[in-house]
Amino acid sequence: MTFNYQQYLRNDNLPHIWCPGCSHGIVTKGILRAVDSLGWQKDDMCFVSGIGCASRLPGYIDANTLHTTHGRALAFATGVKMVKSNMHVVIVSGDGDSLAIGGNHFLHSCRRNIDMTLIIFNNNIYGMTGGQTSPTTPFGATTTTQPYGNIENSIDAVNLAMAAGATFVARTTAYHVTQMDKIFAQALAHKGFSVVDVMCDCWTAYGRRNSFKSQVDMLERYKDNTVRLEKWNKMSEEERAGKTPIGVFLDVQRPEYCEEQHKVIERAMSAPSEH
């Protein structure tokens, strides 16, 4: 039976604003399948985003949804989650939104280990504003603000998340949908702060400018450019050149922020009042 996406969508708000060929749609569907596999109820879900093409996603989902300011989704989400800690909070964010303007909140959300999931729609570019350099634009790639080729080194969101203290860290691509579904479900179910870096494509602002022949061409490069983590770990330095590992990099448990805060409250409330 085909999957019924409509049941999770605000069909009155469609069609979406995304360009034909944008992979944001593929990733959105992956999220909905993961949610469905976990049996989450719509009333118990909160989707939060910042600003950018990816950040329009919550508007299309029939749940509690919050479209905030550029880069600040994680901080808004933290407030929601603290007060309603029984809600499932999922943050969807572009690479610019989460790693440039929102970089500080990214680090500290990882460190705090609050039970939420951040899904990074990593298309290597600022899509919404028309193709400027993002922190994940590859060295040498052409953008509207690096017309001579990008001379900045890019951020690896996976390494950053692990270093900062996230307790679940994974990377997948818009091409590997079976893996994507599995990883999303794992990330959403994980207790603690989980980060999924999803390699995906912006044909309009990145692909055309960087001599890809078609959207399909862009997607298919992930077949050759990525390697499953298990295999990656056995590869030599030379074999790894030009390739990116995908899979689950980290899945551990550490004290979760809401639970720790509730313990503080219990301690403070049972202490004899000094007031």
């Binding site: 600040r72 407030g79 409330m269 007031h275």
Partner: protein, 392 residues
């Protein structure tokens, strides 16, 4: 994980409030006022001279079942309180000049998305990092116009510890009733000074909560506008599923580019505060009945102005004080009227002249308007005001 919903201040113990006469600092009075008003969520980033608000709440909030968060910066703090408010809690953040600047984008978000919250700014010397430990009143226009775009704002300027406490309670009540951010503009002097404060019994304090839609509401739409012009928005996770955005939106809460709808929204934001004017705006008239010279002042400068009035009266001068307890919206009609009655208006403030511009505009030449300013970070003295009045 254990389900924990603390949006309505569940678990607050009476024993955690100790009514009676206290000696308290301004920053502590703000913290206590917030707790009485039902604040159960605070997020902030430390900055002098506001840090004691955070420190006191870090201790007090958990005792009442509430949450305290030290965020990574002021932008995050402002964002976190907005999220927490949408989830149903009464929320506050406190900061000072540099942090206040950082919060502005998200304060604007609170205005357009109509999210109740209280922002405390204990002003210090500026610009930039300026003079952290000394007072100023340099953020008056930033409080009004700090965000981008056209929206009204509510700003309170208390001048004593007792008033800080009560105006903090009122700030929450107004924020909840009009679904809007409310700014409490204090300064280093009243933040750090200590005065008597009579803490009331919690049950005697008028605490207002935002109106939420009833569970069985049929064709429910998040930003549907009732006659009060204040939409009734539910909390996240209560069985309504709604969308909130900082983009211009229609009644459903979803973005729109329709010029008429956008105009309607901006006008309504203004109108809902206009309609509440008499409820929101408060001032103190001190010796005004027969005053020929009117001082218009606020916050710690108004303390000096009151002392100046007393001394000038003793020497036979007919001077009075119009003290702004609410700065924005501005009591325009009242100032217009005073300008017609008075021989002159004198505006003492600890900046290069900010509110004086508003007074001048409203006086419209009906009487001279004189500024008395001080920016060396020392408190404006009654003497300086008296001198200005005598030179008229």
């Amino acid at each position: 994980m254990q389900a924990f919903d603390n949006s309505r201040g569940i678990g607050a113990r009476k024993a955690n409030f100790t009514p009676g006469l206290k000696l308290m600092s301004g920053n502590d009075a703000i913290a206590e006022g917030a707790l009485y008003a039902g604040c159960r969520f605070y997020a902030g980033y430390p900055i002098t001279p506001s840090s004691e608000v955070a420190e006191t709440l870090a201790k007090r909030l958990p005792e009442l079942g509430g949450y305290f968060l030290q965020m990574e910066d002021e932008i995050a703090s402002m964002a976190a309180i907005l999220g927490a408010s949408l989830a149903g809690a009464k929320v506050m953040t406190a900061t000072s000049g540099p942090g206040f600047s950082l919060k502005q984008e998200n304060i604007g978000y609170g205005c357009i998305a109509e999210i109740p919250c209280v922002i405390v700014n204990v002003m210090r010397g500026g610009p930039s990092t300026g003079v952290p430990t000394k007072p100023s009143q340099g953020d008056v226009m930033q409080a009004r116009w700090g965000t981008h775009g056209d929206h009204p704002i509510v700003v309170f300027t208390p001048d004593s510890i007792e008033e800080l406490f009560w105006e903090t309670v009122r700030a929450f009540n107004i924020a909840e009733r009009y679904r809007t951010p409310v700014i409490l503009l204090a300064d280093e002097i009243i933040g750090h000074m200590r005065e008597r404060l009579f803490l009331p019994k919690p049950a005697t304090v008028n605490v207002q909560n935002r109106r939420r839609p009833r569970r069985d509401a049929g064709d429910y739409s998040a930003y549907q506008v009732p006659r009060s012009l204040v939409p009734v928005i539910p909390d996240y996770g209560e069985g309504y599923r709604f969308h909130v955005t900082g983009l211009a939106h229609d009644e459903t809460g979803f973005p729109t580019n329709d010029p008429a709808v956008i105009e309607d929204q901006i006008l309504r934001l203004h109108r809902k505060i206009d309609m509440g004017f008499n409820d929101i705006v408060k001032w103190e008239a001190y010796d005004l009945e027969d005053a020929e010279i009117v001082l218009v002042s606020y916050g710690s400068s108004a303390r000096a102005a009151r002392a100046a009035v007393t001394r000038l009266r003793a020497s036979g001068k007919k001077v009075g004080l119009f003290r702004l307890k609410t700065m924005w919206p501005f009591p325009e009609q009242q100032i217009r009227k005073l300008a017609k009655q008075a021989k002159a208006i004198v505006v003492p403030e600890m900046n290069m002249g900010q509110i004086v511009l508003e007074v001048e505009r409203l006086a419209g030449g009906a009487c001279p308007v004189i500024a008395v300013n001080r920016v060396d970070t020392e408190m404006l003295s009654p003497k300086q005001i008296i001198k200005a009045v005598k030179e008229l």
